[in-house]
Amino acid sequence: MDWELNEEQRMLRSSIEAWADNNYSWTDWRQHSVANETARRARWQELASLGVTGINIDEDHGGLGLGIRELQIIGELSGSYLMFEPFFSTVVLGTSIVSLASSEEQKAAILPAIAEGNCLLAFAFAEHGNRYDLTNVATQLEEHAGQLVLTGKKIAVLDGQFADKIIVLAVDKRQSAGAAGGLVFCLVNRDSLEGRITSYRQIDSRMAADIDFDGVAVADTLAAEDASAVLAEVEAISLVYLAAEAVGSMKAVCEQTLDYLETRQQFGNKLSTYQALRHRFVDMEIEKSACEALAIKAAEAIKQGSQDRFALAIAAKATSGRSARFVGAQGIQLHGGVGMTDELAIGHHYKRLMANEITLGNADYQIGRFRALSLTA
């Protein structure tokens, strides 16, 4: 397998990195954190012209037809630069679900617009009372007088207030679903959600929303016969993306911490000369390396469609959660007092890593799932 990026991947990385260098200086970051919709849409258009918004959309629908490794490249840079762009919500979750669960008609209606940077998606899956379990949702889809209607409340919908369409994960309670009543992906248009979106800033300064779907009309349901199977694939892709994002943030933390240790002096010596601190930094590097290697391996398994892709994805997410806690915390600790300020990036990396770990389930949760998988194997 290819551990290093190939030439095209390196070029892709360079072009996004160059864009990030131009748009995500630390001063820029502060401005972006005050969610200005016009500026955001403009940035997204630029990313569309770089091919990023359609990176994993097939060429027939206006995308680049690339895959999981390229998503990880985006994720890593998103983590390093603490980006606000809706890569995860639109490109990873949204596009993956639409690509895997839709009819040709549905794909044609949505994917080109995403590739052009004109359509943002969000995926509403989490519920209060369900913690991290993706499949055990209480939100229901029913049919009343020919209308498809949802009942339920979703929480933590990343980029929910910006989405043009929201994909809602629900249990299918329609008559036609019969006794089976499996999962279904429902498409809801933004304009059906007037007054129902409670949006808020997260610890990492990104925007999310709690959305009340009680009585909301569903525009369409995605065609997939087996939504659960699609969900499992999308989850694996997402876990591996999030692991890469964590790696990106950890790389920035290590870089900034190394710089600080080699600059700051106390007791007449640079901090980097103290063995205890050197060892601590080494531990940070090791955690980051372990996480990066497993994330790449898990991506490869997804790319190959191999049987162990789910186990690997879960393991990668578990590892990134655990590594991130240590690396994020030590990033602050080794900076001392300045690590506690809002001014420096290091604290924001800590908060982004916290958010990253929580998304789709923290390390403890993933370890539990891994165990469950092992027991059934």
């Binding site: 989490a126 519920e127 209060h128 009372g129 369900n130 913690r131 991290y132 379990d133 055990n136 209480a138 929480i155 933590a156 409670t198 808020y200 800033r201 997260q202 610890i203 990492d204 999310a208 709690d210 106390q266 007791f267 007449g268 103290y274 205890a276 601190l277 806690r325 915390a329 602050i332 600790q333 001392g336 007092g337 690590g339 506690m340 300020t341 809002d342 001014e343 604290g347 800590y350 908060k351 916290m354 958010a355 929580i358 923290n362 403890d364 539990g368």
Partner: protein
């Protein structure tokens, strides 16, 4: 916990005081907020003062209560469990003991009453941008000029200096001597002294409690000096030793662990079972509880030893070190318990108003967690504490 009838009578007395004097709204505010307004802290201090309980750890002659270590422990425990406001530490546990040990009679008369009543609020001018762990390297300069000290320099991480009345400040009075031998202790009235600029520092929790303080040709009278000139480091060491006995934070961690259990009882898995009943999560709580018991045992032992022997070597450092790590673990697990509701973090522009998203028991949990990332940094970082302990343990 040692309990006998006397202790239980005392505990009942403390509870009765709390019931009568602690407003439930105040307790609720304290439970949900990391940073408290000055007035809230002062009002509580006044209530304690009126009861004669302003300074449980001070000698009776200076307004102390004359309690045994067990009583002091019970008092702190009950106040913490009731979510009473924490007292401002700078006056009571820091400058107060230094004043009554090393200050002139005039200074004692002038400053001790205000600390006891809470009417005068103190802050601590110690760390500098270039002097954190290596505090003795501080360079804020105080030069004798006629009947004043003229101060130039800067202090940083000065908690609540933006609303404090007074500051105790370590300054360099002899730049030619060895660093520890050229430091003096000054008492500065922030209300009456010009040339001081206080600049807010927003912390990782988006709150404003920290500041940087700039001194530009600041004149203070010579009687601002506490004790002898150039002996300030000795007084600072005395203060640090004193401070650390108080900072295992065991009661606070226990209270937060109880709040964590409340969260875990309410949070659900699979829309049915409670998080607390989940074996995996339950084990983590139990593990922390056991660690806390060990910390509590160490704290009680140290408190008893402090009374008898007077001098403590590594114990204060052990308590601070372990206490801070356990405290962080409790906060971290509390955030874990919230699941996705650990994510919302809305702060209004003035940084005092917040919107609570999600269940009400989530309020303040993440703020506390974020702010207490500093627990292993302030008061002597964990690295510093391990050095202090090492120096005592290794003989060669």
């Amino acid at each position: 916990m040692v309990t006998n009838t006397e202790h239980e009578t005392f505990r009942a007395e403390v509870r009765a005081f709390l019931k009568e004097n602690l407003d439930p709204e105040v307790a609720d505010f304290v439970r949900r907020h990391t940073h408290h307004p000055k007035e809230l802290t002062q009002r509580w201090q006044k209530a304690l003062y009126n009861r004669g309980w302003a300074a449980p750890s001070w000698p009776k002659e200076y307004g102390g209560t004359g309690w045994t270590p067990a009583q002091r422990y019970i008092f702190e425990e009950e106040c913490t469990f009731a979510c009473a406001p924490s007292v401002s530490p700078f006056g009571l546990t820091m400058i107060g003991p230094v004043l009554y040990t090393f200050g002139s009679q005039e200074q004692k008369d002038r400053y001790l009453p205000g600390i006891l009543t809470g009417e005068e609020y103190w802050c601590q001018g110690y760390s500098e941008p270039g002097s954190g762990s290596d505090l003795a390297s501080l360079s804020t300069r105080a030069e004798r000029q006629d009947d004043s000290y003229v101060i130039n320099g800067s202090k940083i991480w000065t908690t609540e200096s933006h609303f404090a009345d007074l500051m105790f400040c370590l300054v360099r009075t002899d730049p030619t001597a060895k660093p520890q031998s050229g430091i003096s202790f000054l008492l500065i009235d922030l209300r009456k002294t010009s040339g001081i600029t206080i600049s807010p520092i927003v912390s990782i929790d988006k709150a404003h409690s920290l500041n940087q303080v700039f001194f530009e040709d600041v004149r203070v009278p010579l009687d601002a000096l506490l004790g002898e000139e150039n002996k300030g480091w000795d007084y600072a060491k005395f203060l640090l030793g004193h401070e650390r006995v108080m900072t295992s934070g065991v009661s606070r961690s226990r209270q937060k662990l109880n709040e964590l259990k409340d969260i875990a009882k309410s949070e659900r898995l699979e829309h049915s079972t409670s998080l607390l009943s989940d074996p995996q999560f339950g084990r983590k709580v139990a593990d922390l509880e056991i660690q806390l018991m060990a910390l509590e045992a160490m704290s009680e032992r140290v408190l008893a030893r402090a009374e008898d022997a007077g001098r403590l070597d590594i114990e204060p450092s052990i308590l601070k070190l372990r206490g801070s790590e356990i405290m962080q673990a409790v906060h971290e697990l509390s955030c874990d318990a919230l699941g996705y509701y650990a994510l919302p973090y809305e702060y209004g522009a003035d940084r005092t108003e917040r919107t609570t998203i999600g269940p009400s028991y989530a309020e303040g949990v993440v703020e506390d967690h974020l702010y207490r990332r500093a627990a292993t940094i302030w008061g002597g970082s964990s690295e510093t504490q391990r050095n202090i302990i090492s120096k005592q343990l290794f003989r060669k």
